[in-house]
């Protein structure tokens, strides 16, 4: 199987879907002539032209709105937010419109669209460019929310998202675009509502998504060397939140860590942990350990930033503590 970066896997997914279905088009800031801020759309403007790769002004409300209105007229728009931080100026369109239209109009119309957006911190971009808020979207009925962490899933889920008839928030991460892995060629579709074990283990369960999946895998490899066998569950499907693999895993290991890049309080981990307690209370040997970022607006300074976002070391320390192996 070819080995691709996540960046190229996404590019491939976009291209294949555009070739397959003439109703698919892309829109966003500098995705065309400029080839995309992070080059995910590289080459597509040249290949498909400006009708299907639409450069927009800096006007996120109109980017999301255009996607909604085009979807309501039968197209399948894929909007890019240059980074997910900018979706904050368009969040009404996402939540009050895209997410609710199908329901509030009695099922009379569908809004098949995707919003792609890289989130995450760790690049010294400071308080306004380092947060993701995927928990906000995961809270909203009507949205599907996914956050893959491998090239194969990036491709398979983006293709599936484009074909889905619902608005899908597709969360990428600047820090994973260069991550490499095998990617099936051609028709490779990954369900949007299925989480899965990415690494087997029996001592504890680590639940993570997006870039934190990569961190969890790293940590698990290192834990192995000290005799701790960690199972890693990829929580790529955040809404609908598929808990089955995590629950099965916890029933086996009795210990769980949730790991996310965002702030801990009211985060992704609080929901995952609550569900674990609710559905596997008696299997738990200790409370679930939740790891998230320090609850500060991301600082620019490199050292401070480093201790703000969770990393491999945090997972390892937490794992040891959880298993009483300090």
């Amino acid at each position: 199987m070819p080995v691709l970066t996540i960046r190229d896997a996404l590019n491939q997914a976009l291209r294949e879907e555009m070739l397959r279905d003439e109703s698919v088009f892309l829109l966003g800031e500098d995705i065309g002539l400029y080839d995309g801020s992070f080059k995910v759309t590289r080459g597509l403007y040249k290949e498909f032209g400006e009708r299907r790769v639409l450069d927009t002004p800096i006007a996120e409300e109109v980017i999301v709105g255009t996607a909604i209105g085009a979807a309501m007229a039968g197209l399948r728009p894929v909007a890019e937010m240059m980074t997910i931080n900018f979706i904050l100026v368009a969040i009404d369109q996402v939540v009050n419109a895209a997410a609710h239209i199908h329901y509030m109009f009695g099922g009379g119309i569908a809004v098949p669209m995707v919003i792609r957006a890289p989130g995450g911190g760790g690049h010294q971009l400071g308080a306004q460019h380092s947060h993701s808020h995927e928990n906000w979207f995961a809270h909203v009925p009507g949205l599907k929310v996914v956050a893959p962490g491998t090239p194969a899933d990036a491709k398979g889920m983006l293709k599936a998202a484009i074909r889905d008839d619902n608005p899908v928030i597709f969360i990428e991460n600047e820090g994973t675009y260069a991550v490499k892995g095998e990617v099936p060629e051609g028709e490779h579709l990954t369900p949007l509502d299925r989480n899965e074990v990415k690494r087997e283990g029996h001592d504890l369960t680590i639940c993570a998504h997006s870039r934190m999946l990569v961190v969890a895998m790293d940590a698990a490899r290192e834990l192995e060397q000290e005799g701790i066998s960690a199972e890693v569950v990829d929580m790529r499907a955040l809404r609908p939140l598929d808990m089955a693999p995590a629950l099965a895993s916890v029933r086996k290991t009795g210990h769980a860590i949730t790991l996310e890049e965002g702030w801990r309080s009211f985060g992704i981990g609080s929901e995952i942990a609550s569900r674990i307690y609710e559905e596997a209370f008696d299997d738990l040997d200790a409370p679930v350990a939740r790891i998230g970022s320090a609850e500060v607006p991301a600082p620019y300074n490199k050292r401070l930033e480093k201790i703000t976002f969770p990393g491999k070391a945090d997972v390892i320390v937490t794992a040891r503590a959880l298993l009483g192996r300090n």
């Binding site: 409300e61 109109v62 909604i68 209105g69 309501m72 009404d92 329901y103 109009f105 009379g108």
Partner: protein, 336 residues
């Protein structure tokens, strides 16, 4: 005759076209009677939530929407009962929606602020001020994408022209040459706030200058004037892909919503506008032109009133949504 020629002829001969004139009259009266009944049913608690009436604005609504074809789209706001009716949505389905019934335009899930009909390309009422403009843009883009001879009409209030989405939308509509007519129903107030307390420029049409866009202002109490200008702008959108901003100056006779005590307007002001009532005015004009008699007027009123009664009966008798269906349509179930 080619399509656009037919259009031109129709426009030129509006005052000679009895059928159209009577259609406009009937349509306005339907909205008036429908809204009067709505108010009554709201007071009887058959209708709930927020409820915003179109009474007084009938000429602006009918003049603009009647210039569209069935395949054209309308995007509207929460004050949209009349907009839906004018676009051809069945009064029965509209009233049933206000009642929250399963037979309503939105299966009772939307209510007064969220009417919808895919069939009539009435693409919905939205309750967040300005929210529907960017969405209308997207439908405009889809029309160009598919190279269809269709038009989008995006309808909103004077108050909505001060919010960011208005600006973003008009800019790209012009930039991308989208077939959109932006219609501002300027009823002089956004809730309790008069236009001059909310907008640096009180003549809304002038805001088009910032997008190098056609802007026009029309007397929104004169359905024929509205229709004339609207036809021209719709044509311009359809054939030249030139968007425009059309301001219809009008007035809502009632409060902002059913729960508005309406203490911020002078009684005299309300009276004055009622004195220019568009329905009465058109009736008188058609009588003067000998196109209509008092008896006709009486008959049309009876017919329209019967239609509204029928809508109420339908709504009353329609079933409530089944609680088992609460979770239906949160997501689209089937893959295409």
């Amino acid at each position: 005759m080619k399509l656009d020629q037919r259009e031109t002829v129709r426009r030129k001969n509006l005052l000679a076209d009895r059928e159209t004139l009577l259609g406009l009259y009937r349509e306005m009266l339907l909205i008036r009677r429908f809204e009067e009944k709505t108010a009554q049913m709201y007071q009887m608690a058959r209708i709930g939530g927020f409820c915003h009436l179109n009474i007084g604005e009938e000429a602006a609504i009918v003049g603009t929407i009647s210039s569209l074809r069935p395949e054209d789209y309308v995007y509207s706001n929460y004050r949209e009962h009349g907009h839906a009716l004018a676009k051809g949505v069945d009064p029965k389905a509209v009233m049933a929606e206000l009642y929250g019934k399963e037979t309503g335009t939105s299966k009772g899930r939307g209510g007064s602020m969220h009417l919808f009909s895919a069939e009539h390309r009435f693409h919905g009422g939205y309750a967040i001020v300005g929210e529907a403009l960017p969405i209308a843009v997207g439908t405009g883009y889809a029309i160009r994408y598919r190279e269809k001879p269709e038009v989008v009409m995006s309808i909103f209030g004077d108050g909505a022209t001060n919010i960011g989405a208005f600006h973003e939308s008009l800019n790209v509509a012009k930039l991308w040459k989208l077939p959109i007519v932006f219609v501002c129903i300027n009823n002089l107030y956004g809730m309790g706030t008069a236009v001059n307390r909310a907008s640096a420029v009180t003549e809304i049409w002038k805001k088009a200058c910032a997008y190098d866009m056609t802007g026009e202002r029309v007397d929104g109490m004169d359905v024929l004037k509205v229709r004339e200008v609207a036809e021209r702008l719709v044509e311009q959108a359809r054939t030249e892909h030139e968007p425009s901003l059309l301001e219809c100056v009008t007035y809502r006779y009632k409060g902002h919503s059913m729960s508005d005590p309406d203490t911020y307007r002078q009684k005299d002001e309300i009276k004055e506008w009622q004195g220019r009532d568009a329905i009465l005015a058109l009736g008188n004009r058609l009588k003067a032109l000998k196109m209509l008699t008092d008896a006709d007027i009486e008959r049309i009123d009876q017919e329209v009133t019967a239609q509204v009664e029928e809508a109420v009966t339908f709504a009353e008798e329609s079933p409530e949504p089944d609680p088992k269906d609460l979770y239906r349509n949160v997501y689209v179930e089937e893959r295409r």
